[in-house]
């Protein structure tokens, strides 16, 4: 109806010039190597603290990439229109799960420092013995392989099919991707939920919360949408996607950020209130740990910074349609996701209060730089958006 419908050319595809960012790529590579070597030292010098630090960094980046994978499969399953232009970046970020599967190995090696239940012999703790059918090392290992294997295969399959479609635009690929996505939806829910139980709830085998999987999902989906805003804006800053991603797409991404900001608060509060109100010692220990000592200040920061502040800001339409302002909120939300994971993992180790460690920082830098390096090598291989997607024109002219 509007003027924009008339005369939208079929775009030729844009390709990332890796030569322009060779310097950045080199720096990231060097930083990654140095940080990984230092992490190896940390794993030997202080394996207890380092195990927790590495798990924290791993879980943070894992939720971000799994969230991007989630948006890809939702895009295909719902035959979404607006997200075609940003889908390639979602696929790229989701494909980083392959690297993360590799970076999971240190957690397996340091398992005895992280998961207390592995070292408790049968007969000592009845509350553990009733869970032995689930909490045992072989099954734990099999589950980890299944979860990571699923993410790895599905993310790679979606990226490959999408890249194949760039060549000839055959709608057959869209159908194939839809099929992969339909299978992936329940698998994603199960793998993320039980992954969260195994690797995060498992830090304290006495604690349980049936909402924990949804809680992790809510944080993952919201923060990965924020990450997408940041990545897309960075590409636009570098001169790409200028005519492809419009303010309408930013508006939609902003709406999703708001939606998952609310959903995260809803789930987080639901989990908190049920446990707080029922007042069962097995359950409350989790929050008593995190709401006392210096952890209390960080928990309050999370409540205010992850919900109240971004909620009020994202309500404004002017922020959602203003890329620079939306980026500030998005960066903030990614930081809050990091704080969220930090508050899930580290209080299990430091029950007496906030205890920062150099290994926390080094682990985040090591995994972050590794993923950044791989991402920069992955982006130039395909066009920055799916050039031959059947719904590309509709996506380019999206109005909301």
């Amino acid at each position: 109806m509007s003027e924009r419908l008339h005369g939208v050319p079929t775009p030729e595809g844009e390709y990332f010039d890796s030569g322009r960012f060779a310097g950045l790529s080199f720096v990231l590579g060097v930083v990654a190597v140095i940080a990984l070597v230092l992490c190896a030292v940390g794993a030997i010098v202080n394996p207890h603290q380092f195990g927790y630090s590495w798990l924290f960094a791993f879980a943070f980046f894992f939720t971000l990439c799994a969230g991007c994978f989630f948006w890809t499969i939702v895009h295909h399953a719902t035959d979404a229109e607006w997200s075609v232009v940003v889908r390639r970046q979602l696929e790229n970020l989701g494909a980083l799960l392959t690297v993360l599967a590799l970076l999971f190995v240190p957690i397996l090696l340091l398992r005895h420092h992280l998961f207390v239940w592995m070292d408790i012999p049968p007969g000592v703790d009845p509350s553990l013995d009733t869970k032995r059918a689930y909490l045992n090392w072989p099954f734990f290992l099999v589950r980890a392989v299944i979860f990571l294997g699923f993410f790895l295969l599905a993310a790679l399959a979606l990226r490959r099919l999408s890249a194949e479609q760039d060549k000839d635009g055959n709608p057959r690929f869209t159908i194939s991707m839809r099929k992969v996505s339909f299978i992936s939806l329940p698998m994603f829910a199960l793998c993320l939920t039980f992954g969260a139980y195994d690797w995060l709830v498992g830090l304290n085998y006495r604690w349980f919360s049936t909402m924990f999987g949804v809680y992790i999902f809510a944080g993952a989906a919201g923060s990965s949408m924020s990450l997408l805003v940041l990545v897309i804006t960075a590409l636009r800053q570098a001169g790409y996607l200028k005519d492809v991603v419009t303010v309408e797409h930013y508006h939609i991404m902003g709406k999703w950020m708001l939606a998952f900001c609310i959903f995260w608060a809803y789930i987080g509060f639901g989990q908190y209130m049920l446990i707080w109100y029922a007042n069962i010692p097995e359950e409350t220990q989790y929050f008593i740990n995190r709401n006392t000592q210096s952890w209390w200040a960080l928990s309050m920061l999370l409540v205010i910074g992850r919900f109240f502040v971004p909620f009020a800001i994202l309500l404004l339409r002017s922020v959602k349609t203003h890329p620079r302002q939306l980026c500030i909120v998005a960066a903030w939300l990614v930081c809050m996701q990091m704080l969220d994971i930090y508050l899930i993992v580290l209080p299990s180790l430091h029950g007496t209060g906030f205890h920062p460690s150099i290994w926390d920082l080094l682990s985040v830098v090591a995994i972050g730089a590794t993923l950044g390096f791989v991402y920069l090598r992955m982006v130039p291989r395909t066009s920055l958006f799916p050039v031959r997607d059947p719904r590309l024109i509709e996506s380019l002219t999206t109005v909301n």
Partner: protein, 185 residues
């Protein structure tokens, strides 16, 4: 007050259009001609019509915010009032001070949503001057097709720029058909 030779009060001059696209383009021209008191009618919502009509931002959201905030304050009042000050009761050893607030969140949330929804509904009714028994546009027999396949545009007589010849000319230029005067009652 404009009247017809037979003494009827004039509500508007209206025209019918062939399609949603024609109505959209006509709306843009009427907007550019500087009219303020006019409206378009179609069987379904037309995307981007608010922009084509130059409507600007609706202040319904302001009323919704007002409703939401008053719902939140009402809930805080009816919960904190009795449970903190008037008649504190020990429930599971939960505190009597501000930190009992998580127990109150569900009600606060519900009342915020309820009041915001009420505000949205009633403010929307008031802004559209609803409910009403009849609308002058129904005095035009062709207008009954507006719920079927008719696209209409009406420029009201109370618009300061309204002149019979000027408006008729504008509607003709924009491709309007069956141009007619619509009576007020």
């Amino acid at each position: 007050m404009i009247k017809t030779p037979y003494g009827h009060r004039v509500y508007a001059m209206a025209a019918e259009y062939q399609s949603a696209a024609a109505l959209y383009e006509a709306a843009e021209r009427v907007r550019d001609a500087g009219f303020r008191r006019w409206d378009v009618y179609s069987p379904f919502p037309i995307h981007g019509m608010d922009e084509a009509m130059g409507l600007g931002k609706s202040w319904l959201s302001g009323w919704v915010l007002f409703g939401g905030v008053s719902g939140l304050l009402t809930a805080a009042l009816v919960e904190f009032g009795p449970s903190w000050f008037l008649y504190p009761v020990d429930v599971h050893g939960k505190p009597w001070n501000f930190w009992t607030v998580p127990a109150f969140f569900p009600i606060m949330f519900e009342l915020t949503v309820l009041f915001a929804a009420f505000a949205a509904f009633f403010a929307w009714q008031a802004m559209n001057r609803l409910p009403r028994w009849n609308h002058p546009m129904f005095n035009w027999d062709r207008f009954s097709r507006v719920t079927n396949d008719g696209f209409f545009l009406a420029i009201e007589a109370r618009d300061p720029r309204f002149t019979e010849d000027g408006v008729r000319q504008l509607l003709e230029q924009t491709g309007g058909q069956h141009i007619t005067i619509v009576h007020e009652d």
